[in-house]
């Protein structure tokens, strides 16, 4: 095996060849947005953006061929910052790790649901590496942060070789494992809107084990209440019960104008179950997932509601 080191400017660039002289994988770690975009635009073969690697690297071990080019984006400052804007919103870099997000007390206070969803991913070891952008772009139906990100009404800043665009998070995942991003595009950061007073979110998932397991069903609720404790804005998103996260608009409408009384919650639970389209597999039957999602959404709604009243 022949390997050639190269350094271009400040960025680190390396390449590994097979004995036959073909490229196994190039790796580069650009330090500016423009360099990432240039690298993405110039790539001719398969290219993968690399953040924490917790989804990509296990796949190499499983025998999936590495891409011709791996672009490590986490040295670009815009992908690593968490910043509160003057108007109250937040910018979270796509390559912020779970550990970095949990440590940001202001963010955790404003967005307890989104941050607890991110914190559920894997172990301490995984939290050191797994990123918010990676969790979204891996496009798993069971990804924990995604329902909470959608419920938060977050928007993505996307950069590509011919400029930038912005999309709401729910437009990104198109099917299991696939996003709408072009090969020359990546997500730079997420923008979370400013919070009204008396707003809060919550996320709950069901896993057969308490730790180190993937959700068989999950629910995120983000809501706002008025001075009388009546819900006046509400977003409900369900995970792992369809090929892509389910934005449960008809269910959220049931909570609007209510104080989450028992009769309202009963109708809410029935509507949630009606919106589930889960698969049956060895980790849970479709019937069980449908039932448990209603319970999760109901409890997440109560948690978000009680947090919003605080």
């Amino acid at each position: 095996m022949l390997r050639i080191p190269l350094k271009s400017g400040k960025w680190f660039f390396a390449i590994t060849f097979s004995a036959a002289g073909t490229v196994i994988m190039e790796y580069c770690a650009p330090v500016t947005l423009a360099e990432v975009c240039a690298a993405l635009g110039a790539a001719s073969g398969t290219v993968k953006v690399f953040a924490g690697g917790t989804d990509l690297l296990p796949r190499f071990v499983a025998g999936v061929n590495p891409p011709a080019l791996l672009i490590d984006i986490k040295h670009v400052p815009e992908t690593r910052e968490i910043r509160r804007l003057a108007e109250g919103g937040f910018v979270i870099g796509s390559a912020c790790s779970g550990g970095q997000i949990s440590a940001h007390t202001e963010l955790v206070r404003s967005w307890p649901g989104l941050t607890e969803a991110m914190d559920l991913i894997g172990s301490v070891q995984i939290q050191s590496r797994a990123t918010l952008g990676g969790n979204l772009c891996n496009a798993s139906p069971a990804a924990d942060s995604v329902p909470a990100l959608i419920a938060s009404r977050a928007r993505c800043r996307i950069a590509g070789s011919d400029g930038e665009r912005e999309l709401p998070v729910e437009d990104i995942i198109v099917s299991p494992g696939r996003t709408c991003l072009r090969q020359d595009e990546f997500i730079v950061s997420f923008f979370l809107p400013a919070r009204n007073p008396r707003s809060a979110d919550a996320y709950l998932r069901m896993t057969p084990r308490t730790e180190m397991d993937i959700a068989i069903a999950s629910a995120a609720v983000n809501l706002t209440v008025d001075e009388q404790g009546v819900v006046n804005e509400c977003h409900v998103v369900l995970g792992a019960v369809g090929p892509v996260p389910v934005y449960a608009l008809p269910a959220a409408r049931i909570l609007l104008g209510s104080r989450l009384d028992e009769e309202v919650r009963q109708r809410f639970r029935r509507q949630i179950s009606a919106l589930c389209r889960p698969i049956s597999d060895k980790r849970g039957s479709a019937e069980y997932r449908t039932d448990v999602t209603a319970v999760l959404a109901d409890r997440a709604a109560m948690t978000a509601y009680n947090r919003a009243l605080l």
Binding site: M25, Y27, P66, Q125, S128, R129
Partner: protein
């Protein structure tokens, strides 16, 4: 020709050669002969390969060696000093917190990272913290007791 990476391993400057697809785990075990760090699953599930990189606990099997330029890496080999076991190592021995021992280096590094960040964890915090380190032999109780014995 190989890629040359300069890092710090257990406080000593260190240079190693690697390919772009090599993991930190492979480099530690095969290039640097630091075989204390174990390979279990190779996919982030078992924690046998746990090391501390730039102050954070990571699975060495989920870090590419090419990412380690300038990194500060701590492995189980760096725990003892001047022939003296680290207090966690001694506590694992005193509590019989190992049987086959394959999980032990990873659990020691995970425990060290815990006590570095939270010097006074309670039992629940310890159990959640080590959830990413699998042990097939001990049933965890003795491991938890050993760590609790080191809480200042």
């Amino acid at each position: 020709m190989t890629i040359s990476i300069h890092a710090s391993v257990n406080g000593e400057p260190c240079q190693f050669q690697c390919g772009t697809t090599d993991t930190l785990l492979k480099v530690l075990r095969e290039n640097l002969q630091l075989t204390g760090t174990k390979q279990g699953c190779g996919t982030g599930d078992c924690g046998a390969c746990s090391v501390i990189m730039n102050g954070e606990l990571v699975c060495a099997c989920l870090v590419l060696a090419v990412e380690c330029g300038q990194a500060d890496i701590r492995t189980v080999e760096g725990l003892s000093s001047a022939g003296q076991l680290h207090s966690l190592q001694q506590a694992f021995l005193d509590n019989a917190a190992l049987q086959c021992g394959i999980c032990t280096p990873g659990l020691l590094m995970a425990s060290k990272a815990l006590l570095d960040k939270h010097p006074q964890p309670d039992e629940t915090q310890i159990r959640y913290w080590i959830a990413g380190n699998l042990c097939r032999c001990t049933g965890y109780d003795k491991i938890v007791r050993a760590i609790m014995g080191c809480v200042s």
